[in-house]
Symmetry: C2
Subunit: 245 residues, 2 copies
């Protein structure tokens, strides 16, 4: 049995490539054949998730369902979606799926250290509006900060600037918003949009807080799924926390 | 029409992720939806290509054909293979395929500048043994150097070290072999194995020669295929030559 993982991606394509790369780099094996079998669907015609949820744009759901079933037909036995905002439709997709799925919020929140008390959240307007992360963090008794309204506009512009290929602009827009959250007392920042780790990139050390990368968390959860299916010893139990703890 | 591109990868998985990333970075567009639709198959159980061609190991062909047809069934209209050695089976695969395929050797050699006269080739033992590149370079009237036998052993060890996750060892093994080729008069180096650009990585500027990246060349050729199918203006006509010219 292959136990192939399917990546339902394209939201955006850079985050999908980042996820595929993380599957390779997090899996410490000696040769090609020991890597995890993956089929990645990066068909980016899926309508904008934020535009749908916030301003009544066309729904991405039918596209997500179609590519989900395409991955199933191709042999995927477990589906992961490298897009936090798309998880608004996760339960409905899971209901339609014939194979397992792993939720990016479950994977990300499982990596939150117990000692982290004051959490910051970097995400799209739509992820914030749907309250996906907020509800669960408050249930866990954590204090949660999201960027103030004017700062969140810059976060959103940073995400779209990155999607448009302008890394420098996206960093210029995003970094002051991270500093502002740290000044408010945030000790741990959730990168709750899969473009955010690509924007912060190698600059993680310049900020005085710990980061949780939602793409990386989902990859680690998927590797654990694969190892369990294959009776392998778990290799990625401990999250690799980024930045200072 | 989507005009989806299928990546028949997994040889190795890091090269497949590199190709997907290059499809994003070479396509200068403003939003997710304008990126190229891609399905990437990175199922790495394909038997080792070099072991098959050089020491009678199991053939990768049946695996290649199976994943090719899987990509076709999933909707791919053009197939690319980010592995030079696997192109030994390219003609046979093309005969079996129902969709278009782009050859990595065609794409790579098309990027060779006219003024390049003395070419070096970094590739697997098997790619060298099959003479895929050598025949065509000599037909073009170019002088070709491959590493001397003892040096080629180090090149091959570098490729397997990278596949095993040891970037530093792979660079330590490979870099002196590049210097040796430059000392013999090479002005342009073909990275004729898709792990080689990952090993050289950001260190390209330390060598006094031009580089041609076979993965990048194949991605540019595939982007041109897509643009032509969609009636778009060609955006990647000129190769981006790496290093000094």
């Amino acid at each position: 049995m292959q136990h192939t993982i399917g990546i339902l991606g394209g939201m955006g394509p850079a985050a999908t490539a980042d996820m595929l790369s993380k599957f390779v780099h997090f899996r410490h094996v000696g040769q090609d054949q020991q890597h995890i079998p993956i089929i990645a669907c990066s068909i980016p015609d899926i309508p904008d998730r934020s535009a749908c949820l916030l301003s009544g744009g066309p729904s991405p759901y039918d596209y997500l369902e179609r590519y989900l079933h395409m991955l199933e037909s191709a042999g995927a036995e477990c589906i992961v979606i490298p897009c936090n905002t798309a998880h608004y439709w996760f339960d409905r997709l899971q209901h339609s799926a014939h194979v397992e799925m792993i939720n990016i919020l479950d994977a990300t929140l499982a990596e939150l250290p117990h000692h982290s008390q004051t959490i910051g959240l970097l995400a799209t307007d739509a992820t914030l509006a749907t309250g996906l992360y907020q509800r669960r963090l408050v249930q866990q008794g954590k204090t949660l900060y999201v960027p103030e309204e004017s700062h969140q506009r810059e976060v959103m512009q940073a995400i779209y600037a990155y999607k448009a290929g302008d890394l420098l602009l996206s960093q210029t827009l995003l970094f002051p918003q991270i500093e502002a959250l740290i000044e408010r007392g945030v000790d741990t920042l959730i990168m709750g949009c899969t473009e955010i780790p690509l924007i912060i990139n190698t600059e993680v050390a310049r900020f005085n807080c710990a980061f949780i990368d939602s793409t990386a968390a989902l990859v680690r959860a998927a590797i654990r799924w694969y190892e369990e299916k294959n009776g392998e010893t778990a290799s990625v139990e401990r999250p690799e926390l980024l930045g200072v703890e």
